[in-house]
Symmetry: C2
Subunit: 261 residues, 2 copies
Amino acid sequence: MAGRKHVVVTGGASGIGAATVALFREEGSHITVIDRTDPGATADAWVRVDLSDLKAIDRIDPGPRIDVLVNAAGLPPRPGLESMVLRVNAQALVALTEHLLPRVQPGGAIVNMASKAGGKWREHLAQVRRFLALSGPDDLDAFVKAEGIDPVRAYDLSKEAVIVWGLSNIARFRDLGLRVNSVSPAAVATPILDDFMSAFGDRATRGVAITGRAGQPEEIARVIRFLASDEASWMTGCNIDCDGGLTAQLEYDALVGQDQP
Amino acid sequence: MAGRKHVVVTGGASGIGAATVALFREEGSHITVIDRTDPGATADAWVRVDLSDLKAIDRIDPGPRIDVLVNAAGLPPRPGLESMVLRVNAQALVALTEHLLPRVQPGGAIVNMASKAGGKWREHLAQVRRFLALSGPDDLDAFVKAEGIDPVRAYDLSKEAVIVWGLSNIARFRDLGLRVNSVSPAAVATPILDDFMSAFGDRATRGVAITGRAGQPEEIARVIRFLASDEASWMTGCNIDCDGGLTAQLEYDALVGQDQP
């Protein structure tokens, strides 16, 4: 892999992660996938791990040098999986990034998979910060119970936490010569779309009706690739909506509604 | 120009506009620059016009077919130029885009130059909408006087208006098969940087101190190129901060400050 960019992609065996792997493959990067499922021959290396096992993260070794880390692994909202969703989508993302950070080279980039579901992080900032301050898995179960977190709230909170964690690290990562950005899709045509449609109900149906279709995994992956590239050298701390205009349109319509006399 | 992408760039003779022209040139697009100044040989065609003359806009004819429209023309804040700044940065942008809209091909993209200075559009939405509802140049002078708009407020308002106008057109442009996005830089090393540093004072100095340097025009132009490309096919209605993390960091720090017990 001498001279080739080393790209590490979590969740690279399916969905947006797999589409991201395929794109980096096209441009000749060396790709390590971190996933519990075999990503197949598109990846150069596979680190097999279940990211819900936070203790396994410290043993992950994708090699000494990383140029790009794409945190794409994630679970959709499902009844009974509140803690699991928070653990995989947010706690594991933070733990893995911190674990790998010393290997990410100056000039490197971290791209996190957020979601339209995390867009209300400003309103929920206090809860997000309580969540990010938890010390481990045991705390997490108690937190979920104490704060009455249902499956949809767990998913939303997990994505809010991804965005907030990125924001809280802009300066620190800048000092390391690194950029950190996130991408927020709405409905995307992946194997877990049915989970979202079922969990979010009207909220998801309405969104797809407004934009006319779901996004394609490749359309999200292309934004990830851009953010990871030197083309985005002056972008850090951004959370990029990639949703056919849905988030912006809904926010604007709501604000204009409030602004009517 | 058969088969070549036709890219129209306002303000393409200098600064971020010129850097954008140079990038599109590299990829072989046919480029028309709309500017009062000669863009030189990098452009394929030059439509000479002073965009502060709104009546001249209806006579602009860059040919029957446009794939990408980049509205990069803009004036910095200067004492006495309040109306002029609002006219060129926002009114001319809207008028020109509406004038050219029938020529922009389905699948096409519009990218508008906004600014960190426009980031508080939510707080100022009522004033922005009053400004966008003005019917012409005469109204504008009265508006500037009645609302007590100073040079810095004129610049900020002009950029807020660019963002809001884009947001208000997401659905309409989607129906035409078009995407509309904007880019918001903070300090950029262009010939008008001194104007900004002088007008914004501490606000600008502090920003550059946080990010360690000003952005380079090419770094903004690369984001414009991405947004204009099919790579960004699922992005519309976005306002992309391209400022080394400044806007996100300041917002987050302010929110966390409020959130302290």
